[in-house]
Symmetry: C2
Subunit: 281 residues, 2 copies
């Protein structure tokens, strides 16, 4: 095992052993599962009607209208976001898809089971998980919201908070948490981030990263709702129960990593460095 | 500008305007500038002899011995790290490159100009920049160290802290700050992260992400020290002076982003979501 590298062995074997041990995994509803094909592979996205009901519903409708098929990821900034849709321009007006009211956050309601991470956070009073999604809470004002971690799916907009409706983006670098509650997050990538990472990049100093040569924009080949696919072709994916003992154990392992390797462990966890594991049954 | 997306306009135009306005940029020493070619493009890395003198010197020597040429990125975990070198195995012993003593951190010395970020941090008493590198400090014990942000270059190792010597890795997802002071960071990628993002991935649940089919490992085509290249071919790159008023202004803009877009700004900055800009003169 000379020079074999333990950097993440603990973290990722932990993840694998969670997968092996957990009794309860939630199968993602086909009505919330988006199947997006790009040239490099297939991306699976879970929509969150709980946190952004109107945006989730809009995205479903756009997918079913084949709105995105043949469009592109036209604004891709390395280390920041990949943004897809029809792009801008006078020829790109979409009166049939009017802007949506922002859903930056929602009321804390008792029917949503929130599992605290148990670590401080730089951007929210409290962070934790709801159904595998990374979530922030503000008790004083009774609000909760999805966080901008890598893989979060959110709606782009103009200055008006209520101006987004079709153009979506996914953070592909260090989680840009400063965007929390400033844009509407409505889902997360469960599988296939590596294919978003292969997308051609724009120059961030030119038109805020919009790829100027349209021929260099990677196409969105096809987007489908899993619910509309034939059962034999429909992907199925499960998410760890983030209220489970297994998930609590996983977090505890991260807090107390193998002492034979970690000489300076930190008791704090960073919510965005910590994905809820998924499984393909 | 309908549906034109302002998500990062502020951040990235700020970056561009820093580039346009700054009076003082540091040109990276050719003796510290590593030029790494992979199939997808060219990656520029700055070594930090200040923080890890022995590791920086070792890397330079390995490059000059053409150690990495024709080797591969054999362990690539999406959202975590890309790791390159010769890999493991009994046929991969390298007695001519013995393991190095860890350089996890160093003494705080007065000759190193540290510019505090001015935000709290989850992993260090204090964070800020030294010569464009993200750095943490512990005043009580008088130590400082390079942080594990996306693009940091560090040495992999076995359980023994003093067991690394040739195999390097680069975080390619959310900064894995839990690795700070547990492995030796000795440089950072200044340009070309998007090419590391294109590397083929391994399965994190199998042998901690080592790509099992050697044919699927992306090659490290060639690595050179800029100092050894003909002047006409040698790339030149500059890093913002992180002690400058311009850089302070950039941070202030991030703290007080355009109010016409940001309805819920956060006063805190996350050190890893915040790269010191670079310029190609």
């Amino acid at each position: 095992m000379r020079y074999f590298i333990q950097v993440a062995v603990c973290a990722f074997l932990a993840s694998a052993s969670v997968a092996a041990r957990a009794d309860e995994w939630r199968t993602v509803e086909p009505e919330n599962l988006v199947v997006m094909d790009v040239t490099y592979g297939r991306i699976l996205i879970e929509l969150s009607p709980e946190f952004a009901p109107n945006h989730a519903e809009r995205f479903r409708k756009l997918v079913r209208a084949k709105f995105y098929d043949g469009q592109s990821f036209y604004r891709v900034i390395d280390g920041f976001v990949a943004q897809g849709g029809i792009g801008e321009g006078d020829d790109k007006k979409t009166p049939e898809w009017p802007p949506l009211k922002a859903e930056f956050d929602r009321k804390i309601l008792n029917d949503v089971v929130f599992t605290p991470l148990g670590s401080p956070d730089l951007f929210a009073d409290e962070v934790g998980h709801v159904d595998g999604f990374p979530v922030g809470r503000d008790w004083k004002n009774g609000r909760m919201w999805l966080l901008h971690c890598p893989g979060t799916v959110a709606m782009a907009r103009d200055n008006d908070p209520d101006s987004g409706g079709t153009e979506f983006y996914v953070p592909i670098g260090h989680g840009p948490r400063r965007l929390d509650r400033n844009l509407t997050a409505f889902g997360r990538v469960l599988e296939g981030m590596q294919y978003l990472q292969k997308l051609n990049r724009g120059d961030p100093t030119v038109e805020s990263g919009v790829i100027q040569d349209a021929a260099k924009r990677d196409p969105i080949v096809r987007v489908q709702m899993a619910a509309d696919m034939a059962k034999s072709e429909r992907p199925s994916i499960q998410v760890t129960d983030t209220t489970s003992k297994e998930f609590a154990d996983y977090k505890a392992q991260r807090r107390n990593p193998a002492p034979e390797f970690y000489k300076n462990p930190s008791p704090n966890l960073d919510i965005c460095a910590f994905n809820a594991p998924v499984l393909r049954p």
